[in-house]
Symmetry: C2
Subunit: 332 residues, 2 copies
Amino acid sequence: MRVTKVAIAGFGGVGRATAGLLLSRRDRYRRVHDAEVRLVAVCGSRSGLADAEGLEADRLTALETGLTGPEFVAASGADIVIEAGPTDFRTGVPGLAYIDAALSAGRDTIVISKGALVHSGPRLRKAAHASGAILRLSGAAAAALPTIDLLQTSLAGCEVLAVEGILNATTNYLLDSMANRGLTFGAALAEAQAGGFAEADPRNDTEGWDTACKLLLIANFGLGASLTMDDLRVEGLQSVAPGQIEEWRTQGLVPKLVGRLTRDGDTLRAGVGIRAYPLDDPFALVSGKAKAIRVITDAMGETIAISHGAEPLATAAAALKDLDHILAARTA
Amino acid sequence: MRVTKVAIAGFGGVGRATAGLLLSRRDRYRRVHDAEVRLVAVCGSRSGLADAEGLEADRLTALETGLTGPEFVAASGADIVIEAGPTDFRTGVPGLAYIDAALSAGRDTIVISKGALVHSGPRLRKAAHASGAILRLSGAAAAALPTIDLLQTSLAGCEVLAVEGILNATTNYLLDSMANRGLTFGAALAEAQAGGFAEADPRNDTEGWDTACKLLLIANFGLGASLTMDDLRVEGLQSVAPGQIEEWRTQGLVPKLVGRLTRDGDTLRAGVGIRAYPLDDPFALVSGKAKAIRVITDAMGETIAISHGAEPLATAAAALKDLDHILAARTA
């Protein structure tokens, strides 16, 4: 039985959930992939832990100061690196350095954080190709919602004419409160922040940037585009005029913040903004923490996927779906 | 550039649509897979056509009497056989003989008709494994709706706890007419038959057998089960008691004929019957020719897919999705 060594860089809620799920699936990896999967290293921003013989869950609570940074990747000896840290999409920091270190050394890489991929996606795609490493990012591209899979596997061979996605839970929550309970944006936000559903600085969500990041990854990695943030027109909840919510309600329409890609000849147009859906559109039912994507293709018509999973487990499971695909590809 | 020879057995509406779509995608196969895909043979139940240099669309209207049957498969010299004929699930006839001939010779096989797979699925799976042939059946397992893909790719690594599917258009149409317009089953059926939405002998659809066939393929090929029809409890529209439709309507529930799989320890329970959904369940919106599947997993929660495509093109595209996957697998 071959040994596959996995390292996890970024050890907050998602990183820890990924480690726990990976350890719980080791019997399955033996059975399905004939692989002994070892978690050989983890690191957060200031500390880490490594053991080539494999780490068990009880050791993951006591990290050692200093074992972190891109050199952690080489030191880990990992075959597969999972990048799970928070990363700024305007700079790619800090995840980009870990991903670069992994891909340039030919290590298969699973990325959960969006920032580095948004910042340098096409370059990272080329780096993976050059070194023969497999680069996967299901966890970054809307987590448990099938997006890149859907485009590349379920709709393989079809020409994609348009993509539309409800990709952000916070704005879903805020729009639900505004539309169903008549709250103003400010009141809805204050309530969401008090309940832990919105961050103290909520602009990444409310101004549409989180949706834009996911949309850009779907375009660049699912459809082979090379878009940058400058190519996207991004409008968030601030674009909703007073009275608009009430008007939609009287019309029987439900507003959602969506990212949209439309093919216009050889060009892929991308934008984020609010759209209102009639009650017989499945998108009108996508509320709370659910996410959804609609894809229109030339030969298969309309395909919709809707996902509702509990975080951080669902995101961890999305990343480990990539691990399953890599284990299968490396066996073949 | 390698040459990949494809034969299509079964040349009714779906077979012809598959041939047309395949021919129209040849440039794409060159570009994406570096493969020259040739349609080298087609056959219906009494006639066929073969040319190792490849057939163009204009020749597909004049088939020659006699070139048919399992020996057609060997004579075609095809690398990949697409089986698209009508096949009885109680006997596997006539598709089974074509599929056996293809798989035993190590030819990759794409099956669109359900019958042979329902009749002899586990045996065919073993035959493919023994000869090294790839066996794919997206077109049979609910066509453009992602089902086996969803389970094996998008939800890879997760334990599937339950599956539920709206898999048959005719019963969707009949239940819509009964629930929304107050028609009796008989009146709805007569109208559907007059409009071409139901067959003269509609029992395969209305008694739930078509749904049961698709459910069984999803279980056996998507979840590795080995169910037979005897393992399924199948109830169709005839189980709807008078007054039940009206009662559901007053309760705000929408009835659908669904196939369901539920895991009970190591056992997979399977059945087909009518279930009524509240209006905030996406399944309540799946009407007309749309199909849908809901999968519950341990780590990703609930995933729903809904598909709405025009036939026979969508089924042809599902079969050719399998062709894309085979071309990719044979390149790797």
